[in-house]
C-alpha cells in the first residue's frame, strides 16, 4: 500500500511536471497539449514509484524499461524525466528547437534514457515484446512497460504485437493504455470505435486491469504487483485529456496545438494554485 503522504508527494510532483509541460509548449510554439497533461500521472507513477531505474545511469542493465509508443505526447515524458533527474529542467525549454536533444518526437540516440524512437504509431508494443523476450533470454528480471494511445489501437501492427506477447505469455511485460477517448479528428468512438477494449484484451489472452489514470493508489496497486497470471498485463488507464487545466480538459481541439498567451498564463496559474493547495495540509 502506498501511504497518504506519498500520494500527496506524487500529486505535487505531477503538478510541477504539468507546469513544465505548459512552459515547454509555450516555448516551442507547437506540439500537443491534451495528451501530455492526461498521461502525466501515469508517467509520474512509473518514474517516481514503480520502476527500478537510475537517472544517473540510463543504460543500467537491470533497469525497468518504459517505451512511449505514442511519441507525440513526449513533452510529458521529457518533463517527467527531467524532474526525475535525467537532465536539467532548463533543457526542457529547448523542446522542438534546432539542435535540441528533445526532438519533436523522441529519438533514442539524441537523449539517454529514451528507450526507443517513436512517433509513427503502432509499433511500440512490438519493440517492447522484443525487449521482454530478450530480457527473458538473458534471465534479466527487469520489466518492460509500454504506454500506448487509444487511437493507435486502430493500427494493424498493434494487433500483431498484442497477439505475439500473449502467445509468448510475457509476464515481464505491461501495456498501459492511455484511454482518453480523443484522437486528432475527434472522439475515438466516433472515428473508428474501440470499445469494448477490456473484452477485446481478455479475448486476446491478457490479464486486464482498469484504473483511474489519475489515481496514484490505483496505479500503484496494478503496476507494482507481481504478475502471476501467466498472461501479459494490459492496464486500461482512464485518463482525462488536458487533465489539471480545467479549460483544456476533455476537448479534442487541444490534441495537437499548444496554448498561447493568456491560455498559458491561466493554465500555469491554476496549476500553481493546485500545487499550493496540495502542499498546504502537509507542511503546515
Amino acid at each position: 500500500m502506498i501511504s497518504y503522504d506519498r500520494v500527496q508527494e506524487l500529486k505535487i510532483i505531477a503538478a510541477r511536471v504539468r507546469e513544465s509541460i505548459i512552459e515547454m509548449l509555450v516555448s516551442a510554439g507547437s506540439g500537443h497539449t491534451a495528451g501530455p497533461l492526461g498521461f502525466t500521472d501515469v508517467l509520474v507513477a512509473l518514474y517516481f514509484q514503480t520502476m527500478k531505474h537510475n537517472p544517473k545511469n540510463p543504460s543500467w542493465e537491470h533497469r525497468d524499461r518504459f517505451l512511449l509508443s505514442h511519441g507525440h505526447i513526449c513533452p510529458a515524458l521529457y518533463a517527467t524525466m527531467a524532474h526525475a533527474g535525467y537532465f536539467s529542467k532548463a533543457e526542457l525549454l529547448t523542446l522542438r528547437s534546432f539542435g535540441s536533444r528533445l526532438q519533436g518526437h523522441p529519438h533514442r540516440e539524441y537523449l539517454p534514457g529514451i528507450e526507443t524512437s517513436s512517433g509513427p504509431l503502432g509499433c511500440g508494443i512490438s519493440q517492447g515484446v522484443g525487449m521482454a523476450l530478450g530480457l527473458q533470454l538473458q534471465k534479466n528480471p527487469a520489466r518492460v512497460f509500454v504506454g500506448i494511445s487509444d487511437g493507435e489501437l486502430q493500427e494493424g501492427n498493434t494487433w500483431e504485437a498484442l497477439m505475439l506477447a500473449a502467445h509468448y505469455k510475457l509476464t515481464n511485460f505491461v501495456i498501459i493504455l492511455d484511454r482518453n477517448h480523443i484522437q486528432i479528428d475527434g472522439f475515438t468512438e466516433n472515428i473508428v470505435g474501440l470499445d469494448p477494449v477490456a473484452d477485446k484484451m481478455r479475448a486476446f489472452n491478457y490479464e486486464v486491469a482498469e484504473v483511474d489514470g489519475h489515481n496514484f493508489e490505483e496505479l500503484e496497486k496494478v503496476l507494482h504487483q507481481k504478475n502471476t497470471s501467466g498472461r501479459p498485463l494490459f492496464v486500461i488507464a482512464h485518463t482525462t485529456p488536458g487533465k489539471g487545466v480545467k479549460a483544456f480538459e476533455n476537448k479534442f481541439e487541444w490534441h495537437g496545438k499548444p496554448p498561447v498567451d493568456k491560455e498559458a498564463y491561466d493554465a500555469l496559474a491554476s496549476l500553481r494554485s493546485l500545487e499550493g493547495a496540495l502542499v498546504a495540509p502537509h507542511h503546515h
Partner: protein, 320 residues
Amino acid sequence: MNESPIKKEPSRHGFGRGLVEAARIHHNVVGLCADLTESTRMKEFKEEFPDRFFEVGVAEQNMAAVASGLAASGFIPVIASYAMFSPGRNWEQIRTTICYNNQPVIIAGHHTGLSVGSDGGSHQALEDIALMRVLPNMRVVSPCDSVEATQLMKLLVQNPKPSYMRLARSETEILTQQSDAVDLSSNTILYQSSNTAEVVIISTGVIGVEARYAAQALAQQGVSVALLNARILKPFPVEQLRFLMEQFGVTTIVTVEEHQRNGGLGSIIAELIADNGWSQKLLRIGVDDQFGQSGTVEELYKAYGLDRDSLTEKIKGFIG
C-alpha cells in the same frame, strides 16, 4: 574459369548456412521468421538454436519492430521473409524502429527478382533495392550465389548494423569460390577478357550468371569486357570502381539487375557518374517499369530481356 562441373544452388541456401555458422560463434544472434521457416532456410537455425528462434506468424511489420526491441536488449536479430513483405510491407517499421533507432537488425529479403518464377508478379520483388538503399544507416548487400551469401552473412554478423541482404529462390550456378576473399567494402571481378576492358558490366545478384555468359559471348566477338559483381550496393565501393575503370580504360558501363531500372543498381551508377563527373556512357538493363508474371525462370528472363542472349544483343547494340 572454373573447369569443374557446374554446381547449382539457390543463394538462400547459402544464407541459411551462413546464419548457422555465424550463430555458433556469436551467441547473441537470434532469428525471427514470419511463417516461412523452410523456404527462407531458417529451418536449420531453428533446429540448432530453438531457444534463439522466434516464430512471429504472418506479421512482417511486427517482426521488424520486435527485432528492433531484441537488438535494444543486446542481440543481433536476423529476420527472414519474402522481400515483397519484408521490406515490402514493413518499410516504415524498418525505417523507424531499425534505421532511425540505429539498431543492428539483419533483414534477409528472400524471393527477389524474376527468378522467383511461377509464383508470379505479386511475389517477385523488383523494388527492394530502391526501398532499402534510400534509408540512412542501412547497408545493402546482394550476393551472386550461395557461397557468397554464406560469406556475406557471416560478415554482417561480425559487423553489426542495420543491414539488408537480397536473396533469390531458384538454384543458380556457383560463380565464386569459398577461397575467394570477401569483405564488406569491395566488389569482385567475375570475368575479364583481357587486361583492358572497353566495357565493364556491373551485375548484382544471381543474374550475374547470365551476365557472365553475355560477357564471354561479347569477348568471343572481339569486345574487351570485364564483369564486376556488385555484392555490395550500399555503401557502394566507389573508389574501387574508379580505380578499375582507370586501370582498364573503360568507356562504357552496363548495369544488369533483376530489379526495376529505376532506383536499383543502374540508378546507383547513374548517380555516381553524375556526382563524380565521370565520362563513361551508361546502359541500364533491368525491368523497365513493369511487374513480373508467372513462368519458368528461362521464360521470364527472355520475356524481360535479361537472358544471356538478350543481354549480349543489347550491349552490342549500345556500343555499336
